[in-house]
């Protein structure tokens, strides 16, 4: 059951996007979020759509997998759309009974929904193409200037990678404890929500106890191998900024500029 565990959303294929530097990908994602929020009209969203489609084709992640990230959001999407549609005042387009649909309402609801969709798709494009370890490496490097104000960048990254390392181990253990408790007659499946929550106690208590014991052991093992924090540490994984990273950055900046230009020169409300 645990043989092919994939951590996070990472979709392991080799592509140009996968090979980009994780630091750059994090920065690009932040820029993308800025683009999405700056965008004021449909022309802009069309540009973003083209960009996202281009990037996702380059990443060789199937469309179906990309859209998976949207699934849990569908209720929020519908709710945002409907609320904005019905409760925004402005010039009336038409009305069905007492429900008035305004021009502004239609505009806003479409814009907000599109923003949500692009936010999720572009961030999941990053998580799909970057392994969690690379991601934590990238974060560590990006946050390392903050060490000056005693922000624990190295410690956070180390915690993240240890967590990733122990997820499969703890899952395996959960499975084992569950089977052991079932063998003694524990019932995890039936009963109402409260009963099922109660049934988890004999599962969680041994799991926590063992996790703490593991933590103690691991700390000892790390110290035995000369771990003394992030100072004077060298790295096996070295991150390189390549030509492709700059091309990607250039493309993203171009998009940002285009969005701003569109905002200025294509007036609001001309096309929705």
């Amino acid at each position: 059951m645990l043989n092919n565990i994939t951590l996070g959303q990472y979709y392991p294929v080799d592509s140009v996007i996968h090979r980009l530097d994780p630091r750059m990908k994090i920065c690009l994602t932040i820029l993308m979020i800025i683009c999405v929020f700056l965008c004021q009209n449909l022309t802009g969203f069309l540009l973003i759509l083209l960009f996202v489609i281009g990037a996702s084709r380059l990443s060789r992640v199937p469309f179906r997998v990309m859209m998976k990230g949207l699934k849990p959001l569908r209720f929020i999407l519908i709710l945002t759309f409907l609320l904005n549609l019905f409760f925004t005042s402005g010039t009336e387009l038409f009305h069905v009974g007492f429900v008035v649909i305004t021009r502004e309402g239609l505009r806003q609801s479409i814009h907000y929904s599109l923003r949500l969709i692009f936010l999720v798709v572009s961030t999941s494009l990053m998580t799909l193409t970057t392994s969690p370890i690379a991601l934590s490496d990238g974060l560590e490097m990006l946050l390392s200037p903050l060490k000056v104000i005693h922000f624990p960048a190295h410690e956070l990254a180390m915690m993240m990678s240890i967590a990733l390392r122990f997820i499969p181990t703890l899952l395996e253990e959960t499975d084992k404890i569950m089977k052991a408790q079932k063998a003694r007659g524990a019932d995890f499946e039936s009963g109402n929500l409260l009963n099922r929550a109660k049934a988890m106690i004999p599962l969680l208590v041994p799991l926590f106890v063992s996790a703490f014991r593991r933590a103690g052991d691991l700390a000892m093992a790390m110290e035995a191998r000369c771990y003394h924090g992030g100072e004077n540490r060298t790295r096996l994984r070295v991150l390189h900024i390549s030509r492709n990273d700059f091309i990607a950055l250039g493309a993203m900046l171009l998009l940002l500029v285009l969005i701003i230009l569109v905002n200025i020169f294509v007036p609001k409300g001309l096309i929705l």
Binding site: L2, P168, D217, A221, R225, C226, R233, L236
Partner: protein, 372 residues
């Protein structure tokens, strides 16, 4: 003696620099020099040549020191190397570990876990430490690489006192440790990166790191699994990765704290094979803490710990011939030793120190048909 001590240590490039200085300071009292003096006395006609030779040696080392000066400067930048300037206590190269009247008390209790243990481990030796649960053998292991510090007494590892704060990281590099639970000592999500962990902490440069990792993985026969995730490996493989992680740090001593206790027979054999080979071929000193008698029987020397003190010590044959004492300490002896004891009690004149089936067969045959 001093000469070979310096040469044997892996920090030799630092000592090539120190050596000539050291010689010039210590000239009158130094045993190496007094040895040459003795030679000079014996062969007075070679006096001049020897002097010349010594000058030449000093010059040679001085030259080497100059050439490796850049290396030293870059090495001194890293935390670990910076602390090398601390004094080195023991000058003999024979002893890897020397414990003197070591006592240890856990903070939360008032009982002594160790009550004045003294022991010595020679370089290249394979020492097994036996003891039942709670005898203090695990505590002893953790004292040997400064994870714990002795409450009283002192421990000297490769000439470094474990109580000296500044030497802690050097000691841990020299005396690598493997633990009991294979899962709880692997830090990274990929085998190769876990082997790198110790090296990253030591501040080893990237290229050197890659070279050492490949070598270490090859030594434990795990090269093909270098890019696997640890949870995909068997217990024996995980322990071999742990050994590789220690090996990459180029230790003189490997301390294993019941490292086979959680493994199946196959895994145990894999790990034992690897560690015996490292002991034999690379001359790494091994301190093997275990409660498996068969493992102890393969060691050069066995030390039995009971209630925080050394109860028995000697070769496996010597130790396992004390069958009744071993039983009193809730320890088993290998089946053949036990059988030999029974037979002896029944009046069969078997010699002491039978451990294996072969030895038993031989002795019984000798008794039954003395003509052969």
């Amino acid at each position: 003696m001093i000469y070979s001590f310096f040469n044997n240590s892996s920090m030799s490039h630092v000592h090539h620099f120190i050596f000539p200085l050291y010689i010039s300071f210590k000239l009158p009292t130094d045993p190496f020099i007094s040895l040459t003096d003795a030679i000079i006395r014996e062969y007075p006609h070679s006096h001049k040549q020897l002097r010349l030779f010594l000058i030449f040696v000093n010059l040679f080392h001085a030259l080497k020191a100059v050439s490796s000066y850049a290396t030293i400067v870059s090495a001194c930048r890293s935390h670990v190397y910076r602390q090398r300037s601390c004094q080195i206590i023991s000058m003999t190269d024979e002893k890897s570990i020397q414990a003197e009247h070591v006592e240890y008390i856990y903070e939360e209790s008032s009982d002594k876990v160790l009550k004045g243990v003294s022991l010595e481990v020679r370089k290249g030796e394979f020492v097994a430490i036996l003891g039942h649960n709670g005898s203090g053998k695990s505590t002893l292991a953790k004292l040997l690489n400064a994870l714990y510090l002795p409450t009283a007494g002192r421990i000297i590892v490769c000439g470094m006192n474990t109580s000296e704060d500044a030497l802690t990281w050097d000691i841990r590099q020299k005396a690598g440790m493997i633990f009991q639970n294979p899962d709880n000592q692997i830090v990274a999500t990929v085998v190769r990166e876990d082997v790198a962990f110790g090296l990253e902490n030591m501040g080893v440069p990237h290229d050197e790191m890659v070279r050492r990792i490949d070598k270490a993985l090859e030594a434990v026969h795990m090269s093909e699994r270098a890019d696997s995730a640890p949870h995909m490996l068997s217990g024996g493989q995980k322990q071999r990765v742990a050994i590789a992680g220690v090996l990459a740090m180029e230790p003189d001593i490997i301390i294993a704290d019941e490292s086979t206790a959680m493994l199946d027979p196959n895994g145990r054999k894999e790990v034992l094979d690897v560690i015996h080979r490292l002991n034999r071929e690379k001359g790494i000193t091994v301190v093997w803490i275990t409660h498996f008698m068969e493992e102890a029987a393969e060691a050069d020397r066995v030390i039995v710990i009971n209630n925080g003190d050394i109860a028995l010590a000697g070769t496996p044959n010597e130790v396992f011939s004390h069958v009744d004492e071993m039983h009193q300490m809730h320890l088993d002896v290998p089946p053949m030793a036990s059988l030999a004891n029974e037979l002896r009690n029944d009046g069969m004149p078997l010699p002491a120190g039978i451990l294996t089936v072969d030895e038993m067969t031989e002795e019984v045959c000798r008794l039954l048909c003395p003509s052969n």
